[in-house]
Amino acid sequence: MTSTPTKVPAAPSDTASLRGRIGDSPLRPDGTLKVQGEFAFGSDLWADEMIWGVTLRSPHVHARIVSIDVGPALATSGVYAVLTAEDVPGGNVGLEHADQPVLATGVVRYHGEPVALVAADHPEIARQAAKKIRVVYEELPAVTDGRRALEPDAPQVHGSGNLLRHLKIRRGDPDPVAPLVVSLDFEVGMQDQAFLGPESGLAVPDDAGGIDLYVATQWLHADQRQICQALGLPPEKVRLTLAGVGGAFGGREDLSIHVHACLLALRTGKPIKMVYNREESFFGHVHRHPASLRYEFGAGHDGLLHYAKAELLFDGGAYASSTAAVVGNGGTLGLGPYNIPNVQVDSYGVYTNNPPCGAMRGFGCVQAAFAHEALMDELADRLAMSRVAIRQLNGMREGDRNITGQLIDSAAPVAELLQLVQDMPLPAERLSEDEFDLLSLPGGVSNTTHGEGVVRGIGYAVTYKNVGFSEGFDDYSTARVRLEITADEPTVTVHTAAAEVGQGLITVEQQICRTELGVQRVVVHPRDTQVGSAGSTSASRQTYVTGGAVKAACEAVRAKVLERASTMLDIEPSELVLDGARIVSITGAVVASLQDVLGTDAVDETVKWSHRPTYPVDPETGQGDAHVQYAFSAHRAVVDVDTELGLVKVVALDTAQDVGKAINPDAVVGQIQGGSAQGMGLALMEEIIVTGGRVLNPSFTDYLIPTILDMPPMRIKVLEYADPHAPYGVRGVGEPPTISSGPAVAAAIRQATGKALRRVPIRPEHITEG
């Protein structure tokens, strides 16, 4: 690996003819395959001699495994292998803490925990054989309530206390008072990422005890590290390639089929394909933490916040996953983008016997935003102030310090974003019934909110979210860029391990290469572990961090090319410019062609690139520069509520967001639209129903996500206030829309109904009940 050259030659200037540079919106390179059904998702992979793997999962919430008899399963015709914990050579896995066995060992801690694996030549035979595995369980007392988990006599999930993390933030006066005090309790249900492409992959054994795994995931190298741990193999024996990913949203950050498929492949010597069905997918990945929130704000009669106290309790479920980081985000960011001089926050993450929870878009901020935004509305109402004005009054600005004492050292346009959404035109008043033809517009369009008792409400919310990994994490990405002449045309190949999950990072990588090297033809190399880690496709970080690495690698390539040209031409490199296929002197004269300089050689540079460091927060006060960058967004929701039936129709969901620099403006809008839909879904309908630790609705019939009929048209305003610390000034885009959309919808429903509505999703009965 090389480091970034200190003296960076200028980027090409005369590239007007190039199409698809940064700031353009070129079409995604995988689009043609995807619309024809020819793009290979993890579930589409196929290999000669391939057989199928399935998982047997725990039907119990907490139980001791007394015995497992695999005999009848193994004796089934067509079955190649049946594996249990005894067959796992290595140790536990886990994203942050290695606390999760690959297969349950002695005890199951949640409903759906993997217990055994079967490989067979037909998926149905494998499923039938799995049912023949005789597992004798002895049920144990379970803890399925987050608050109960912290009581001293609560059943222990891991025997080491159920507290996973407690983050304290103490700032200013420890006994603050204020003329006006508002408080509330808020509950957020368990949301699912509900990506459309189920967990899937193909593990292919080699002849030397190693394995190639093709898998749909978010972070190849974190997977590789854990697989090596579990298999007891060195990294060179465990090679990963990204299969097509059917959406992720945080749900693919933890392992799913990875180790299981590898174990079966190594045991049988055959390629193993594993594909979850939808039901198993609901058990096979972590969910958004349900949260229990207790908030109190104190303010002056002028509306200025004096203090805030907050207690956030995140139910992490049976294994740690990324709960500690979610607790960190919830705590450090959980009071919203407001200036608050005196702060007491306690953010807890606990183990329970509920399904494990971890990363989902918005990561800890989503839950908190429902509480702080409901409280800001309450404060505004008590003061008879406008709900927008009170947020603008207290909103952060550049140069302010947040509740951990960190300086906000780039744009923080809270007031402006709110103003922008407030000033957008409002949708037309409700159509009268006569304007609908019930038969020609069946279903939702006409069949819901057109009766009497329909009232309109408007709600606002604003948020800020950290971008990239925080609290001192060594957050970097690696990019390899190669420039050569192929078929008489300069060609760039860009190679990173960054997971393309649909967001369009591969397009962004192409755009950066075109911009930096002036070359039209940019080939995106398949993502694999043959190049260094890119970090996870999460935390809205890839355009920033992997984008930064690709930019740096391009700069290194440019420097190398000019060095070669300099030697060849005997002109100082600083007096040369790489301009696509030509080398130009600073006077503008073409002095050589790239072909002359490269011949048949390629210039190939790999760069590991980090953003500026972050730091752990102080354990007692929570003070510190925890985050590298903040991204801001605001939403305005307009809803029609049928108060008699409890039905809600979101008629408009408008937003403004600062993205620093829109590398691909169309893709930015796509992120905002999709992210907003997910936030709206949590406010209105999305919840995994868990009673006594058991999941009751693992299907798309019973776990509802918004359809095209639920999603209103959106007005979107994108601001571009460059962050001087980030490549091109970019700011992460993906998460803020998921955070501020839901609270805006909830606020609009509260405004329409006058009800407190302290839980999401808001169900019809919450609106109609007394």
Partner: protein
């Protein structure tokens, strides 16, 4: 899924006879419910007899001015049929309020009447359920029953029927035509499905192995102004949490005749006969509608998690009756 056989048949007699040869066979219509339940392991037939190829795909007008809908008529064809749309609009509306276009293109009329409950304990074979495994118990009563029955339930089962179509049909006096062995029989839809009682596993009143051949609707002038209204938790592609089909005839400011049925409140499409009786002869007024709904709902036995449905059904009933009669609120 267990292994099973698949057979196509070309006439009703063969279908019924073939079913009788197997201890555990099922008729396969559109498959939108049965195939799903087989994937979940809830249904484990050893033989599927495909009845979509039977000559039961017509919608024909009958001598009494009504229609006969073949059991194999696809939902999308039913909803698009001009006679149905004109004379029985609630039927078309109910069909279109259900599922999605792709599913309506598969689902059949007969299959729709046989749709099984979406109770989450019924669809999960790892949990007890008296309907699926008689005698195993009903965890729904103390568990998740947010969308389960408020009417006609028993201590053994509080499941609901999820069909939209059946609600409209039962409101409009539909009759189910079945073939039982060698004989044909007509059963009013109000009597076709059973309330759970102590045998929630028995869902219909017809003989095991009976085949639905069609559904007839009588000539019914009141039906021409019928409507279906569905309440659900998202705008489309979701089961009802409450629904209503209704038709009202008004003369001189009085309700002279009416039909009211509710969905998602019971194991059967619930014909609200008490409400109808209460409403006949009453003035067209919100109070009359509310009193009618209340009369029916006195029998409601809601649980903690589904008590909201009582008010919801009452409100949607008042709302739709007001809409149908133009009563001012």
């Amino acid at each position: 899924m267990r292994e099973f056989g698949y057979q196509q048949v070309s006439d009703v007699e063969t279908a019924v006879a073939t079913l009788a040869t197997s201890a555990d066979a099922r008729y396969l219509g559109g498959g939108t419910n049965l195939v799903d339940l087989m994937k979940l392991g809830v249904e484990t037939p050893e033989l599927l007899i495909d009845v979509t190829t039977l000559p039961l795909t017509d919608i024909s007008e009958t001598a009494d001015g009504g229609v006969l809908i073949g059991a194999a008529v696809r939902n999308s064809d039913l909803a698009a049929n001009p006679v149905i749309r004109q004379r029985y609009p609630a039927v078309a509306q109910a069909v279109l309020a259900g599922a999605s276009g792709q599913l309506r293109n598969l689902a059949t009329t007969g299959g729709n009447l046989m749709q099984r409950t979406r109770c989450s304990y019924f669809t999960d074979v790892t949990k007890p359920c008296n309907k699926r495994a008689p005698g195993s118990g009903c965890p729904a009563r103390d568990g998740e029953h947010h969308n389960l029955a408020i009417l006609g339930a028993s201590e053994h089962c509080i499941a609901t029927s999820p069909s939209d179509l059946a609600v409209a049909l039962v409101a409009l006096d539909a009759v189910v035509h079945v073939r039982e062995g060698d004989s044909a029989r007509a059963v009013p839809l109000t009597e076709f499905r059973r309330l759970p009682g102590d045998r929630p596993d028995l869902e219909t009143t017809v003989e095991p192995g009976a085949l639905i051949t069609g559904v007839s609707l009588p000539g019914l002038p009141i039906a021409a102004a019928s409507r279906y209204r569905k309440v659900r938790e998202r705008a489309s592609y979701a089961f009802a949490i409450g629904s209503i089909a209704a038709a009202v005839e008004v003369s001189g400011g009085l309700v002279t005749d009416c039909r009211i049925a509710w969905g998602a409140v019971a194991a059967v499409p619930w014909r609200a006969t008490r409400a109808e009786a209460m409403l006949r002869g009453k003035p067209v007024a919100i109070e009359s509608f509310a009193a009618a709904a209340d009369a029916e709902l006195t029998a409601a036995e809601p649980l903690e998690g589904n008590a909201y449905k009582v008010a919801l059904i009452r409100n949607v009933t008042v709302e739709l009756l007001a809409e149908l009669t133009g009563a001012s609120r």
